[in-house]
């Protein structure tokens, strides 16, 4: 048997030269494998692909670099019919194990399918379920919603007593309803210093991304409004104007308000055009008997304030002499009184 093997070797070796690249061979030599070993291994691989792993492993485990014939013999011995059945037995065991695992897999897949079906059923029953991964979404939604706005908590803040609300809602509640927890009425130390509960906030963002996005978009709009609001405030007379506008809003409807403002502006502009054109000839029109109606007092005040602001701008931009300044002032006064008169007449008709 060993001889036969020996006879075969040259052929195999020749084949091997074709089969393996010199580089591979050198690497194999470095690892302590001679060509024959490689060839045998490769043959085994070709014949029975399932066995190769076992074979290789056994080779790696039990082989020291082969150099003598005795090695060859041993190898031949290992390939003898006695040893093969053992391997086959091993493989059988493995195969059965594989089959079992496959069966298990099938069972698992079936189970998964069942679970999915159940999920689908539960989804059908709960229409508002947004995330199919969690069938308890509605309960979560309830748990994670703010008791004040009844929506999903946005930037939740947790009170010392353990209740969570939107930061904004909690703040407004503390401002308007006293510093007590809206849920349990326990004292909140300071509604101003409420901090976002980051863990809760992150959880909410993960669970309800759509709702959070919607709220963020709404919040961005609000903040833009707030910004424009704060941009207006710094101007010198704007605080006064705000007060006036508030007073006016109390008395009149905002629509009327806007109309009034528009009318006043138009009149102002017309008068200014005339003033600039004629340069002082309008003085005759000054104080054309203006019995300010009590209803229009607020509007008149607003007009005066606007006028003052305009005067400020006028002074800055053109830097005219004191004489023409007084003139312009007078004209403006006349303008305002005219505006009131016209409006009064318009209302009477």
């Amino acid at each position: 048997m060993a001889k036969e093997e020996h006879k075969k070797q040259p052929d195999l070796a020749q084949n091997g030269e074709n089969l393996f690249s010199p580089r591979f061979k050198s690497v194999a030599a470095m690892a302590g494998w001679d060509e024959e070993a490689i060839l045998v291994a490769s043959l085994v691989v070709e014949d029975t692909p399932d066995r190769n792993k076992v074979k290789k492993r056994s080779d790696l485990q039990f082989k020291t670099p082969p150099s003598t014939n005795s090695r060859r013999k041993r190898r031949a011995h290992r390939r003898s019919p006695i040893s093969i059945p053992i391997l086959v037995l091993d493989l059988d065991e493995k195969e059965t194990a594989k089959e079992e695992s496959e069966q298990k897999k099938v069972v698992e897949i079936e189970e998964k399918k069942k679970i999915r079906e159940n999920e689908l059923k539960s989804q059908d029953s709960v229409v508002s379920c947004s995330n199919p991964a969690l069938p308890c979404m509605d309960k979560l939604r309830e748990e994670l919603s703010c008791a004040i706005c009844l929506e999903i908590c946005f930037e939740p803040s947790t009170t010392p007593c353990g209740h969570s609300f939107c930061k904004k809602c909690l703040r407004s509640a503390a401002d308007k309803c006293g510093k007590r927890c809206p849920k349990c009425r326990q004292l909140i130390s300071n509604g101003r210093s409420c901090k976002v509960n980051t863990v809760l906030w992150n959880t909410i963002q993960l669970l309800f991304p759509q709702e959070v996005e919607a709220r963020k978009a709404a919040g961005a709009l609000n903040s833009r409004e707030a910004e424009s609001d704060s941009n207006i405030r710094p101007s010198p007379s704007s605080s006064n104007r705000r007060d006036v506008s508030v007073r006016r809003r109390r008395g009149l409807s905002s629509n009327q308000d806007d109309n009034d403002a528009a009318l006043a502006e138009r009149l102002q502009r017309e008068d200014l055009g005339r003033l600039v054109g004629r340069d002082g000839s309008t003085t005759t029109r000054r104080r054309r008997g203006a019995p300010a109606l009590s209803q229009n007092e607020d509007a008149a005040l607003a007009l005066r304030l606007q006028r003052e602001e305009f005067m400020g701008a006028f002074r800055e931009t053109s830097g005219i002499s004191g004489n023409s300044l007084t003139l312009a002032r007078a004209n403006l006064r006349a303008m305002a009184s005219r505006a009131i008169n016209i409006r009064a007449r318009g209302r009477a008709v």
Binding site: S172, V246, A261, F310
Partner: protein
């Protein structure tokens, strides 16, 4: 020409800033309205999906802030089978201010005065923004079953309730028959 130009710009800035001031103030108020409106809408949906027994509530017309509510006198009380109408008016600051609840149907109860005002702790100092209209309805329901003579709005009825319960109940039943059926 130069003066003309400058004057125009001056007015222009004045106009834009003033109109902006008006716009922002109205916007802030409207945003508040919408947030309270949102909450009221949510409460309405909640009420529709899970209505409390023996009572109903909903907007009167198009106005989301003006609701009408109906109570059926609970059995075992002198108000049995009576139908009581209530007006619920939500303030624009809701839920930071309590809703106003008024009985439109006359009722013989020490916690409801002749003009229909209801004396309930949670509708006054005891209000919390975490309370909902459902809870308010439940509290009103408790007035029917358990009037509170110690925090009465009508002392006479409270005295009668404590001194002569049967007479009180007879009178209440008579009122129910007269006004609520």
């Amino acid at each position: 020409m130069n003066m003309n130009h400058s004057s125009h710009t001056g007015i222009g800035t004045a106009r834009t800033s003033s109109s902006l001031a008006i716009a922002t103030s109205s916007a802030t108020t409207s945003s508040w309205v919408s947030s309270s409106g949102k909450r009221i809408q949510r409460e309405m949906m909640e009420l529709n999906t899970d209505p409390p027994p023996d009572c109903s509530a909903g907007p009167k017309g198009d106005n989301l802030y003006h609701w009408i509510s109906t109570f059926i006198g609970p059995p075992g009380t002198p108000y049995e089978d009576g139908i009581f109408f209530l007006d619920i008016i939500f303030p624009s600051e809701y839920p930071f201010e309590p809703p106003k609840v008024v009985f439109k149907t006359r009722i013989f109860n020490c916690n409801v005065d002749s003009s229909g005002n209801v004396h309930l702790g949670i509708l006054k100092d005891g209000w919390s923004p975490a309370l909902t209209i459902t809870k308010v309805l439940l509290a009103i329901k408790s007035i029917f079953t358990n009037p509170d003579p110690y925090n009465a709005l009508v002392p006479g009825i409270a005295h009668l309730y404590l001194a002569d319960r049967t007479k009180h109940d007879d009178l209440a039943a008579e009122w129910t028959l007269r006004f609520a059926k």
